[in-house]
Point group: C2
Chain length 123, copies 2
DNA sequence: ATAGTTGCAAAGCATTTGCAACAGA
DNA sequence: TCTGTTGCAAATGCTTTGCAACTAT
């Protein structure tokens, strides 16, 4: 994967926010630094970086995907009031996954969990 | 909510399959019984039934949403080989949710979990 | 030099919507 | 009757893609 200025800026902007932005949000941010950047470039690079395992894509049932600069597996919390998405500071429950595998008899290699409620700012 | 033939057939077809179909799949099925049914009607009814709590929508990161005629909260398993989605026969881990809430300090009211691996048919 | 990347615009797709005709209650 | 619903087609909105001009290596 060639190192381009656009790619570098996209990754920096994604890593520099906690907001789990959508591709469109990120496009706006990147455009402040590279006014001629295109949607295509943003989308292509997000997909590439995701496929490389450098970032992760969140599909939370909204319209559009959200993106997370932290590739380390972790859970998320979505505020049902403001829509904010927070990272949970805890390791994924590996033991629980194994228990579920045992109880269902399925060959489970990974899992995802999302939590919902009202965030501290909205309470 | 008025009871219409279209609505009834859509619900029956969804409840009559274990395949967690996409809206388009369901449209095809319904069309075999009501040849003049439209996409709009299928989409509108799926949304309505979901909002009423009669069915649930699954957003598993694919392109399109999948639909589940079983509104009772339950986990899902996605086969990474064939894409099949299976219902897990176990109650959601309420105790675990409470533990996560305690550990993160967040007001969590519900959670979702999805498991991934290779299904029995593909192994 | 040359294969990967960009910007642009057009295309793709799933989903939504405006509207007039229709049909449950 | 009268408001909710349908079929149709057009419109949305996010995401992808073809292509010629670049550019990192």
């Amino acid at each position: 994967m060639r190192q381009t200025f656009q790619r570098q800026v996209i990754l920096e902007e994604l890593r520099g926010t906690q907001n789990h932005p959508r591709a469109g949000d990120l496009y706006q941010r990147v455009r402040q630094r590279i006014p001629t950047v295109s949607f295509g470039t943003v989308y292509r690079n997000l997909r590439l970086l995701r496929d490389q395992g450098a970032i992760q894509e969140l599909t939370l049932g909204d319209d559009a995907s959200r993106w997370d600069g932290n590739a380390h597996p972790h859970y998320h919390f979505t505020c049902q009031r403001c829509g904010r998405v927070l990272d949970l500071e805890m390791e994924p429950a590996q033991a629980w996954q194994e228990e579920v595998a045992r109880r269902t008899g399925l060959a489970i290699t990974q899992h995802r969990a999302e939590f919902y409620g009202v965030c501290p700012q909205c309470r």
